[in-house]
Amino acid sequence: MSESVSSALQTFLPVGLPHYVLLSSALFVIGMLGLFLNRRHVIVVLMAIELLFLAASMNFIAFSTATGDLTGQVFALFILATAAAEVTVGLAILVVYYRNRASIAIDDISALKG
């Protein structure tokens, strides 16, 4: 019994690349779930997109550490810049939309077709 527990620890405890990749894929799935399921506010959709960006950069950094190559971290830096730009413009659009329509509920934005 204690030996099996110990061997399980032996397999799972030393943190390596698979741990980080699994964590980032879990984060990605959660963010995507938020993107699809969220029917309340566009703001929460933006936050789900931020989670997706975080999952992507976590993947980049995990592989960068595993291979000892810093290029992955450079691209995580660019992902961060892109995410910041995206959220800035997204929130500005939200503010303008709220000013025009006095609501940002997703159900109301369905009028935004063609």
Binding site: V29, F36, L37, F78, T88
Partner: protein, 208 residues
């Protein structure tokens, strides 16, 4: 036969699992929670924990950047917008709710696929390769990253700066509006003062 692992590995594993649990729970909270302010705070917590994981992996600069950019700037931006917009709580309609099981099933499937790929690959590669430890960098992470960014990736770095500038301009142009009753400086009118106001040399005791 079991090789006892070092206390360092034990601590590293425990810290990783603590932060990983925190990230997963906070991300789920962002998606599930009803109050957008709480969602923003949970997102900040998720980013904070990821910053800790980044530091654990040796990416100190990106960890600190994540804290500065997300916890410092983007969280405030989100909170500002959430509070400025005065969002009412929107109840989920029944027609929307019926998609929940399907979405959860699809998400579970996707996660299982990811996990299967990672697990299969590592069980195979563990037998073949004794994991080579990455070479210790000579300089610290920030210096290395700076050397790389300002030499090999200089053009992309400049383009990223341009992107941020464009985003800033876009946000200002989008949200800027002219309002009535606000005193503004009109430089053209100010410089064009032919007949409106001029300096006059007045004789002493003569008056104008």
């Amino acid at each position: 036969m079991l090789v006892p692992f070092s206390p360092f590995q034990l601590t590293e594993g425990l810290v990783f699992f603590a932060f990983a649990t925190a990230i997963t729970l906070c991300a789920l909270g962002v998606v599930v929670v009803r109050n957008p302010v709480h969602a923003v705070l949970l997102m900040v917590a998720a980013f904070f924990s990821s910053a800790a994981l980044f530091v654990m992996q040796g990416a100190e600069f990106l960890g600190l950047l994540l804290i500065i950019v997300y916890v410092g700037a983007i969280a405030v931006l989100f909170l500002f917008v959430v509070m400025m917009l005065d969002i009412r709580f929107v109840v989920t309609t029944r027609s929307r709710r019926k998609h929940v099981p399907l979405a959860v099933v699809v998400a579970g499937l996707l996660l299982a696929e990811f996990a299967a790929v990672v697990m299969l690959d590592t069980t195979r590669s563990q037998q073949q390769v004794a994991k080579p430890s990455p070479p210790r960098p000579l300089l610290d992470n920030t210096t290395e990253l700076g050397l790389l960014v300002y030499s090999d990736y200089l053009v992309i770095f400049e383009i990223a700066g341009l992107l941020l500038l464009l985003a800033m301009l876009g946000a200002i142009v989008l949200t800027h509006r002219k309002r009535e009753g606000v005193a503004r400086q009109n430089i053209a009118e100010q410089l064009d003062r032919k007949e409106k106001a001029r300096l006059v040399k007045v004789d002493s005791k003569g008056g104008v």
